[in-house]
Point group: C2
Chain length 446, copies 2
């Protein structure tokens, strides 16, 4: 199991510096300095000890490291590279003597999707690292990567053939991620003697010595951040990725368009996702109060606003890598309370205006909202996989529910709209999770 | 991957026969003939092709096999052993020429906990079967196994040293389960030449030839059924195992005592678990109607009855190996509807008797019953593990809920009891799944 990571953070990053006046590791991406972001991702994936090579403006970077150490409660060893103005192979070499077992190597100016790092570490878990491996993105066309600037690789049968910025024949990009064994140091020294202090030169020496392995992938996001333009592009791609294909219709077409814009700002000020969840909940309560006093239009608008803000907590969490099962449980259970409270407000207003049977039906129908979500969770728990949500199931999701109440409010039909959607939710639940299950029951092949 | 199984079903089973007058493979264990039970377990664990050796009363056994083939939709090849009166090694030998790859070997008169078979097959998945493996129970003291009758084994460092009914020095029992490679046939022939047609003799030859591997376990239930007493004991143990440690207090102490007795009978007549779930649901509806008309005592009793019967569906499913995620989803969602309908009955009766605020509080409180179950499922989905249920969480389980309503009915306090338990459920949910989550949120180590 790989538990150590070497992070290169010594370079000048002059192209970024023009804009930000900070050394690269401290440049913020949403709410997190690039270096903190790297360490947070690696820690979540299972790395326990960090070695960070600093050089350019080392005091400022060391101050940042001190902060990260306290905040994330991780061991970080600082390694100084006095020759930081040389190429990055030099920085790796500085770690010789500090790291005595295979390690993960990465660069502070590279942004990765957390899943990629997790998959890499999962793959190498329990495997003997008898050589160095390079992590390669094999998607080379139709990509956001700047092909001219990227370090390209040629590989065949899981073995690296060539690497460099200028090679003509290539079938992948060097992502700046490596699983190194200790041979890398010898190879870098050999390359240095030949006058080349780049990491690529060291890797080329390793190819000759005993080969370099390739772990290639496609479809995970990563990016090398060199310029302010790169940073903007990475932000844009990440924001866009917050739209999920399992989103409901209203969420996908409407809510996310607004909520991601809000989240982009909230993430920058590092607002806690829990605070956002709670604010969305308070808006729902306010909507309920409006309904209780017959202010249907205000109630509807407030509820729809709450629905939009409800997207922000998860988005901010993902942008700043704060997502956790705790937060997800908190948000989801709070959402159910918000639903119940909204319905109770409507119930309160209509209680004395309607006959018993309508009130009974309304109370029954409102349970449909909770059961819609309940049944899906039950199904996923029993089958141990995600439920593919079809048209019917998307109509009983929360985004559509709150949107229906919103429209009901605007049209002064909030009782009817809520009642009908509640009953409809029951029908879908009864059909999908009771009747359909029944017919499949006898088949023991599953 | 092992996909073939050889099942020995040729013997006379004379000690069982005295009581049942049927050949052993057709003797019923709860609702299933022993042979059908074996095949059902093996199929669920991933076996695709079955080879059944028949001999004694082969026509009756073949008729049973025909039924199983249709019912379970599996491929079963019948192999006849004209010398069925000899020992079981002979039966294995009859399969030579039919099976051409490593296979699982088992006996029709052995009962196994499904999990054991699953674990065995999971272990050998993707492994090269370069020798024969014996599955050994290493729990030799404090066991239900009849030590005198059992085939005992001595093993060391994962290798079999000796096997036999009469060996003095042993550290495990032969469970009658083997993962065989094709060398077994040669070894059996060699043993036969020496005048011994037992499977154990063949295994002893294999020990000399290249060794026999041992896969040992502890804590899974299995039994060799030789006598009517064995059958009774196995039934008793299985019935007892239906009590689960995650059961609620009322369920564990009271409901299960009754429901397992009922299930034992229902399983014999092979009543479908879904029918039982639905019957329990109907009882809940009936209880609700009683409540709606102010018949509190009748309502309470009916609801408690429904709660007891609600245990039977899962029990019968497990006894007859009919448990499936479909059935579990069906039952769970139906339970939620039963809860809602019971509460609606109480609501209906009190609607005109109470002030608005009490009615509002009651409606709100009743959501607590659904959220109690909802929040646990949400937690388990997010954390991908089971939630350890402590005292508080057990008090908001369904068995306790329906018991509270039952007592409330008896004491003419059903409104108050339901209201208070509902509010209590909310408090537990809010504490466990909102407040506690919030405080853990900031810790990213999880």
């Amino acid at each position: 199991m790989i538990t150590k990571a070497l992070i290169l953070a010594a370079g000048k990053g002059s192209r970024l510096r023009k804009k930000f006046r900070n050394p690269k590791p401290t440049v913020r991406f949403f709410g997190l300095p690039l270096l903190e972001r790297s360490i947070k991702i690696l820690k979540k994936a299972g790395i326990k000890e960090f070695y960070v090579v600093v050089g350019y403006e080392k005091e400022r970077v060391k101050k940042l490291i001190e902060k990260i150490r306290k905040k994330l409660k991780v061991e970080i060893k600082v390694i100084e590279n006095p020759e930081w103005h040389k190429e990055n192979g030099k920085s790796v070499l500085c770690a010789e003597g500090f790291i005595k077992e295979p390690f993960l190597l990465t660069m502070t100016d590279h942004i990765y999707e957390p899943k990629l790092i997790q998959e890499v570490l999962k793959f190498f878990k329990g495997k003997k690292i008898d050589k160095t491996y390079i992590i390669v993105d094999k998607k080379i066309s139709d990509t956001h990567i700047d092909v001219d600037e990227a370090t390209k690789v040629l590989f065949k049968d899981g073995e690296l053939v060539d690497i460099g910025k200028k090679i003509k024949d290539f079938n992948g990009f060097d992502t700046g991620l490596f699983i190194c064994n200790l041979d890398i140091f010898g190879a870098l020294k050999e390359a240095e003697k030949g006058g080349d202090t780049t990491l690529s030169a060291g890797i080329r020496k390793l190819i000759k010595r005993g080969g370099v392995g390739v772990w290639s992938f496609e479809g995970y996001f990563w990016m090398d951040i060199d310029t302010p333009q790169d940073l903007r592009l990475a932000r844009k791609i990440l924001l866009k990725s917050l739209k999920k294909k399992e989103d409901g219709y209203i969420s996908y077409l409407f809510n996310r368009e607004i909520s991601t814009r809000i989240s982009s700002q909230l993430a920058k000020i590092r607002l806690s996702p829990n605070v956002i969840s709670f604010f969305s909940f308070l808006l729902a309560v306010l909507g309920s109060v409006f309904f209780a006093f017959g202010k249907f239009i205000l109630g509807g608008i407030t509820v729809q606003l709450s629905s939009i803000i409800d997207g922000c907590d998860g988005e901010v969490a993902r942008l700043n890598l704060d997502d956790s099962p705790y937060g997800a449980v908190f948000d989801t259970v709070l959402d159910r309370y918000a639903d119940i409270i909204i319905v109770m407000g409507i119930f309160y207003f209509y209680f004395n205006l309607l006959p018993l049977w309508k009130i009974l039906l309304f109370v029954f129908s409102s349970f449909g909202f909770v059961l819609a979500s309940y049944s899906k969770k039950e199904w996923q728990l029993r089958f141990k996989k995600n439920l593919k949500e079809d048209f019917l199931l998307r109509l009983i999701k929360r985004d559509f529910r709150l949107f229906t109440i919103f429209i009901g409010g605007l049209l002064n039909k909030v009782f009817e709209f809520t009642l009908i959607l509640g009953l409809f939710s029951h029908l879908v639940v009864i059909y999908k999770f009771i009747i359909l299950q029944l017919f499949k029951k006898d088949s023991i092949t599953h």
